[in-house]
Symmetry: C2
Subunit: 172 residues, 2 copies
């Protein structure tokens, strides 16, 4: 299974694609960040994020997309932009009929490090180890996106099939 993980954000929207299946070694396909300038109007930034996610899907053809679930309680200053960026990511994936899942930051931390309270450095270190990289992906948004993809692969199977069925139902 090939999964695109997306750590949504207006200024930096991290993305990472991982191949793997539960219980098998994982491999990095590609990773990056869509950046948009705070000087642009909000609507133009959302258009740029849509284009970036579309480009990932066109080029890397994932089987599923995993997006970080955003909570209103956290980071009040940036949460609206983060919510809007996550909405764009969900839209672009669902429009293609791809199964889409949301995972919380705690679920991702617990999946890759064993603790829902792991810090950014721990998550980065585990992503580096699990994908057998030479160094941690930078910036942290890129590492977080890979951690999301890994989480999705490991939570895998059943949930993905449910999502795929729902996505198909939504298209008909």
């Amino acid at each position: 299974m090939r999964v695109l993980g997306i750590d949504p954000g207006l200024t930096r929207c991290g993305w990472g694609v991982v191949d793997g299946s539960p219980g098998r070694p994982l491999s990095l396909v590609d990773v990056g960040v869509v950046r948009t300038s705070a000087d642009l109007p909000l609507a133009q930034r959302l258009v740029a994020i849509e284009a970036g996610v579309e480009e990932c899907l066109d080029r890397l053809r994932p089987d599923a997309v995993a997006v970080e679930r955003v909570f209103a309680q956290h980071n009040l200053r940036t949460v609206m932009g983060t919510a809007q960026a996550s909405g764009i990511a969900l839209l672009v994936a669902a429009r293609r009929g791809l199964p889409v899942a949301l995972h919380t930051p705690s679920e991702v931390k617990a999946a890759v490090s064993g603790s829902g309270r792991a810090d950014k450095a721990q998550v980065g270190a585990m992503v580096t180890r699990l994908l057998r990289l030479q160094e941690a992906p930078r910036p942290a948004d890129a590492a977080d996106a890979l951690a999301l993809a890994i989480t999705h692969i490991w939570r895998g199977g059943a949930q993905s099939r449910i999502d795929a069925a729902l996505a198909r139902a939504g298209r008909t």
Copy 2:
């Protein structure tokens, strides 16, 4: 000038189109609500909202789009969905190169009723009067969308030209 106003929401996304210019009588073009079921996955709901806004733009050809500015401080339970719906509206308009503006609820209330603290009934009554309707548009989301369009027409001129210039710059 023809303006599409959008009162974003996941369950009910109100939209309303008004023709007019500052100092001239206003006229209603069309008004409605895009509804999505809470039973659908979030991503599918966003796809439905995109389709609804696209349909409005295709059919009614507004010159500009005005979207309510959402604040994280209000309605914590629904704010994430509202932010995501507003992001979709902004994206769809900007992708076509249409000028997009955000107006706060207080700005809209002040524009149509003279008070930034007007309640829903007051806004509905003023929209009814200003557009010379027989009765207030229902639900309130539809009336709010018309109030946004009216606000945009009245704040009009200068700001729209700035937005249009920015939109053109974003496309090049």
